[in-house]
């Protein structure tokens, strides 16, 4: 049957036995019917193949991204070697390339943002998951958190430039450091707001999944609400919360526009957290279209490759933890 489906020919063996010995009209009718169902089977096979192809496109895209980044960063890997990543000077005019200022800037701003955001996102998760799972007030908070994630990053950047930077500047002159305003501290503040939703929404769903008999047992032993949260809910959801924090770190590392607008964009190594700097993403955004030498361009792409690999690893670890948690 398979062969006749493939070539579209109807053979005698495809017709029902009772038709073969009857009138010619009946035979041609049966042939037509058989042809139609063959066509349907063929369309079905083609459709199934198309679906598979669409799925394959996703895999090809990811492999293609990886391959493109690797191929395009080869010139800089060859010319600069691995010590590119910890060389301290970035001066494309004199052909000196070192990525350390950007690595340091990325790590500083992301982790600072993470530390600022953790208390808030965990508080939201506890509030929505444990104290008030239902009602109009938690609904309002939930929608607010979702809207925080929806605001485009370029708007965060513009707002940061116009409102946050002057505030940071007066804060800096109050504590006695150079009042520049733009810098790693400002970008961390903006980033902290931007990444709150990721850990918060994940944490909420994890806290919702804590079995109620565990909590009830603790209440039955006379525990207060806080003691239940601290010694039942938080330990139970530990890995889930950690995964949420990992995912928000992934967002913070790759965030480009808001950071580019408020970090100050210098290629010097930042002296403290208030100094201007650059992150990997922001240096790519600023210098990619200006890169006139092949090694310069390829050095920027190598930064992109590092960024890609780091965020992929962080995201996959986070997703693995979540999968294990939800399957338990």
């Amino acid at each position: 049957m398979d062969t006749s489906v493939e070539n579209g020919m109807v053979t005698r063996s495809d017709l029902p036995l009772r038709v073969i010995n009857s009138t010619p009209e009946a035979i041609s009718k049966a042939k037509k019917r058989a042809k139609r169902s063959f066509r349907q089977i063929r369309t079905e096979n083609v459709f199934k193949k198309t679906l598979m192809l669409m799925g394959l496109i996703m895999v090809i895209l990811v492999l293609g991204i990886l391959l493109t980044l690797i191929v395009q960063s080869l010139p800089s890997v060859k010319a600069l070697g691995p010590k590119y990543l910890w060389s301290k000077v970035w001066d494309p005019v004199q052909d000196i390339y070192g990525a350390w200022p950007f690595l340091l800037g990325t790590l500083l701003s992301s982790f600072l943002a993470l530390f600022i955001s953790i208390p808030f996102s965990i508080a939201i998760a506890i509030f929505l998951g444990e104290y008030h799972p239902k009602g109009w007030l938690p609904n309002f908070l939930k929608n607010t958190v979702e809207l925080i994630a929806a605001v485009p990053s370029v708007i965060y950047g513009f707002w940061g430039l116009a409102v946050l930077v002057p505030i940071v500047r007066s804060f800096e002159s109050a504590i006695g450091v150079d009042p520049i305003g733009v810098g790693i501290f400002s970008s961390s503040l903006i980033l902290a707001v931007m990444i709150i939703p990721y850990a918060a929404s994940l944490g909420r769903s994890m806290i919702n999944m804590v079995p109620s008999h565990l909590k009830e047992a603790a209440y039955g032993l006379g525990a207060t609400r806080w003691e239940v949260i601290r010694s039942v809910v938080l330990p139970y959801t530990k890995s889930g919360l950690f995964a949420g924090i990992l995912l928000s770190l992934g967002r913070a590392l790759g965030e480009t526009m808001a950071v580019t607008m408020v970090i100050g964009n210098t290629s010097l190594i930042p002296k403290n957290i208030f100094a201007p700097g650059n992150t990997m993403a922001s240096v790519i955004a600023n210098e990619f279209t200006e890169a006139d030498k092949p090694v310069y361009l390829s050095a920027l792409i190598e930064l992109g490759l590092v960024l890609f690999l780091v965020t992929v690893v962080i995201n996959l670890i986070g997703k693995k933890i979540i999968d294990r948690f939800t399957n338990e």
Binding site: F47, F120, I126, A150, V151, I155, R225, M257, N315
Partner: protein, 282 residues
């Protein structure tokens, strides 16, 4: 002493409860601050003139953002045309083949793609589209944005279809319906609310994306509808004008920010209302 201890523990419990409340609702502050500030700055800039004119050169006041509006809409439409069919079909594939080996890799790739920083997508789109075509073009921007849309559409399609009961599919197949008609006439129509909400969320997300457009659509101070040439878009205009030193340009950027913000919030809220309504009916 016991009573004192209980009081201490209860007090601690209430203390932490209040602290949680304060920290949780502190997050409302930045969002409100951004909304109010942009409303205040942008509202006075927006009028008919602002919507139908292109930006004036430096030094002349007035002008509008028509080029960015047209550009944004065109780029998003083309990106949607590329991404939505592929995304929905890949999502259907994942929900129909839950356990196959390829499905595992597709799911993994979707997760990876969702986490890729937008600037990296920009670099890749530059080498896939801009370099071979020999110049910045709006179409390459659409491709970059389509890559960003895909994982959201795939995921929401898969998650929606996974929830449908198997009996639905089996009943249709038992009636002798071919597989593709089962998908198009039964499975997708039943799950359309979830799929559409995914599509709308992905459109909302790419509307605000700037980084992938920096090296692809590039921006253009004039009104252009040619997909093979550079084109302006709202987020690009905001970025370029916000970081410029001119006050007139800042005004344009505030107006554009307000429009972008309203559009994105509208899409999000609309999606939420629509899905809630349809879920009740289902």
């Amino acid at each position: 002493m016991d009573a004192k201890n209980v009081k201490y523990r209860l007090g601690k419990s209430y203390g932490f409860q209040i602290l949680t409340y304060i920290l949780a609702f502190a997050c409302v502050v930045p969002l409100l601050a951004i909304l109010i500030f942009i409303l205040k700055q942008g509202l006075s800039k927006i009028n008919w003139h602002f919507l139908v004119n292109v930006p004036k050169p430096v030094g002349e006041s007035g002008g509008g953002i028509a080029n960015a509006l047209v550009g944004s809409i065109l780029i998003i439409i083309v990106a949607s045309i590329i991404a939505i069919p592929i995304g929905i079909m890949a999502g259907v594939y994942l929900s129909e083949n839950k356990k196959s080996r390829l499905a595992y890799w597709v799911r993994l790739s979707t997760d990876v793609l969702q986490g890729v920083p937008s600037i990296v997508i920009g670099i890749v789109a530059y080498f896939w589209m801009v370099k071979p075509l020999g110049g910045f073009s709006a179409f390459s921007g659409s491709v970059a944005l389509a890559i960003m849309m895909l994982p959201i559409v795939v995921r929401s399609t898969e998650e929606t279809l996974k929830l449908l009961p198997d009996s639905l599919r089996e009943a249709a197949l038992a009636l002798g319906m071919p597989f593709h008609r089962v998908i198009f006439k039964v499975i997708v129509p039943v799950g359309i609310s979830g799929i559409l909400s995914g599509v709308m969320l992905s459109v909302a997300r790419i509307t605000g994306e700037t980084a992938p457009l920096l090296f692809t659509a590039f921006g253009n101070p004039y009104l252009s509808t040619n997909l093979t040439k550079p084109m302006q878009s709202l987020p690009l205009l905001i970025f370029n004008y916000a970081t410029s030193p001119y006050n007139d340009w800042h005004d344009l950027a505030w107006g554009a920010s307000l429009i972008l913000l309203l559009w994105v919030l509208f899409l999000n809220i609309f999606t939420k209302i629509v899905t809630r309504k349809w879920k009740v009916q289902l």
